[in-house]
């Protein structure tokens, strides 16, 4: 127990340093490009939100780009065509994603395992085609030049530093919420369902309702990430709803470690960094992403967080026994 306590302190210290570093980013533009860090934060939130479903619910969705992208488009619609303020735009995006999560989730949880993965993928593809055809989305060009506007009518978000802190606060808030959910009674029931569904059912838990609530929560937080990304880049594009992104987010969770709350954020950092630096090489990005995917599945299923945990001789928190 003592080892656990000291490594917990070490973990907290590392986390605190990361947060301090993130707070300092806008003041050190010579070191890192803040806009890239904003994108990274959005993807980290997306990956952690996705992993809430995969890692803790044991539900593998292969269509999470649908929530991310729909929220991006809805936010775009709200701030550009309806002229709403950015906070309302973000709210509209996250709520829209939650409603979509309710629809897709209630269909998908009628099946399990790989069927569920196929269903979410197919429904997300339908969402993709719908956005391709809707008149306001600009099809292949995307919705461009979204105004960032003034937060609460006061803070000008055209200033990258203000935008950065909004993204940072909402991302950290989202992650704190995920952490809270995982360690709440609700989270424990969800994990019990993952481990042994018939037993949870026989104990009287309404399994379907729990799964659906988790699905909606994951979709809403993915939507929050998508809305933020749309505001940061002032763009909602088809690549935000494409199955490539759904695959990327699975990779982030897998690579970072899906048994932990924050592991997927590490995965997101690696994948985004890779895509950022390999961008000039075109199709090499796809090829290398695929190779990393295969290597992870073959021999790195615990992810970075899992590897770190076993390195420090501490079992990863809440590791599912069936997957390891």
């Amino acid at each position: 127990m003592k080892a656990t306590a000291s490594s917990n302190i070490a973990l907290r210290a590392v986390l605190a340093m990361v947060v301090v570093a993130l707070v300092l980013v806008p003041w050190l533009p010579q070191l890192v490009y803040p806009v890239f860090v904003m994108k990274l934060l959005c993807m980290a939130l997306f990956a952690c939100a996705y992993n809430l479903l995969l890692g803790f619910g044991g539900i593998m969705s292969f269509g999470h780009a649908a929530f991310f992208g729909s929220a991006a488009y809805l936010t775009g619609l709200a701030v550009k065509h309806a002229g709403l303020t950015p906070e309302l735009g973000i709210l509209a995006g996250a709520l829209g994603a939650a409603v979509l999560g309710l629809v897709i989730g209630s269909l998908a949880i009628r099946r399990q395992g790989i069927y569920l993965a196929m269903i979410t993928l197919a429904l997300a593809q339908m969402v993709y085609f719908i956005f391709l055809q809707l008149p306001f989305t600009g099809a292949e060009d995307g919705m461009q030049q979204l105004p960032r506007g003034h937060l609460f009518g006061l803070i000008d978000l055209r200033n990258d530093t203000a935008m950065y802190y909004l993204v940072l606060v909402l991302t950290l808030g989202g992650m704190a919420l995920i952490h809270r959910v995982v360690h709440s009674p609700f989270g424990h029931v969800v994990m019990a369902i993952r481990e042994h569904e018939p037993r949870a059912r026989s104990l009287g838990y309404p399994v379907e309702r729990y799964k659906l609530m988790l699905f909606v929560l994951s979709a809403a937080l993915s939507g929050l990430a998508g809305s933020l990304k749309a505001l940061v880049f002032q763009l909602a594009a088809l690549s935000d709803v494409h199955w490539h992104l759904s695959g990327d987010v699975v990779l982030m969770a897998l690579l970072g470690g899906m048994q932990t709350v924050l592991g997927p954020a590490i995965g997101a950092a690696i994948v985004m960094g890779l895509q950022h630096y390999l961008d000039a090489f075109g199709a090499w990005v796809t090829l290398i992403t695929g190779v990393i995917f295969m290597v992870c599945v073959m021999s790195f299923r615990g992810g970075v967080a899992g590897a770190l945990a076993s390195r420090f001789n501490r079992p990863a928190a809440d590791a599912p026994t069936s997957n390891s």
């Binding site: 099946r111 395992g113 196929m118 339908m126 055809q133 199955w243």
Partner: protein
């Protein structure tokens, strides 16, 4: 001119035929997918990528070696099937006993590798593949004009389905395969080499996908992303039909192809989404799929 709901019969017949051609592609692909799933318990995401590899294989053989369509139809499935079998033996087989999700993820990684690789080699734009001379021209049927090549595709795809059915249901090898699908440990204890059977099945499923790719090469543009869009549709069809019976999945695939074709005539805006809407409906009304057996979720 005969009209149905304001549409001339020739248009409807033409789209029905196009839908049947697509339905044939869906049928052979979902057959291979169901075959692999039945025995290996793996959803082969790479099915579409191997379909694409088949089309590219035919194109490369013609372009670089000068080998024509008919030989391609035989050689490409063999070669690509061999690659598939090798993939199963070296990588996929190591995931046996783990959560089936990992099989899906590994084959998804392979999709990215194959798509990225072909895009690096040949670019994203489509490559044309000519219709073989013997199958050029059209047949005049009175109510519609039927291109010979499309008729050939339907015949060849149905023949491939029939051959697969015969192999699985009527030969000793097929009997072993069905036994291993039901109870693999028991089958193994009878002295049947189940791991080899798995490799063979995966290779055969991949060969079917590559065969479909060669058939599709003269119709669709040969390009790196032609497979992944298709495989998502085939996933939806597998969910609609259920993977319980071969006959069921073939019938479902053909019907879906025709329905998609008709949607193009009557409400073309919905033609790309109709299959997914149907899938949602089936999930609401009969979650295990039209031909799915109880408890195969």
């Amino acid at each position: 001119m005969i009209e149905i709901f304001g549409m001339p019969l020739s248009v409807i017949a033409g789209q029905t035929m196009l839908g049947l051609v697509n339905g044939c592609f869906y049928a052979v692909l979902s057959l291979g997918l169901a075959l692999i799933f039945g025995l290996l318990r793996i959803v082969n995401f790479a099915h579409g990528a191997f379909f694409m590899a088949g089309a590219f294989g035919a194109w490369m053989l013609l372009r670089f070696v000068g080998i024509g369509y008919w030989w391609s139809l035989l050689l490409v499935p063999l070669l690509v099937g061999l690659v598939g079998a090798l993939f199963e033996r070296t990588l996929l087989s190591r995931l046996r006993g783990l959560d089936p999700i990992y099989g899906l993820l590994l084959t998804f990684g392979l999709v990215l590798v194959l798509e990225g690789g072909f895009r690096l080699l040949f670019g994203s734009s489509g490559q044309p593949y000519p219709v073989p001379n013997a199958l050029k021209g059209t047949l005049q049927l009175g109510f519609m004009v039927l291109p010979v090549y499309r008729a050939w595709v339907i015949a060849a795809a149905l023949a491939a389905c029939a051959l697969s059915w015969w192999l699985i249901e009527r030969t000793p090898l097929g009997a072993q395969l069905r036994a291993a699908t039901e109870k693999d440990a028991l089958t193994q204890s009878f002295g049947i080499n189940v791991p080899r059977l798995l490799t063979l099945t995966y290779g055969a499923g991949i060969a079917l996908a590559a065969f479909t790719g060669v058939l599709a090469a003269p119709i669709l543009h040969v390009n790196p992303s032609m497979g992944s869009d298709l495989v998502i549709v085939v996933f939806a069809i597998v969910v609609i039909g259920g993977m319980g019976s071969m006959f069921g999945s073939i019938v479902t695939a053909l019907a879906i192809g025709v329905i998609e074709g008709w949607t193009k005539v009557f409400y073309s805006e919905a033609s790309s989404t109709i299959i997914f809407v149907l899938m949602a409906l089936v999930l609401l009304l009969r979650p295990r799929g039209l031909f799915g057996r109880e408890g195969t979720a």
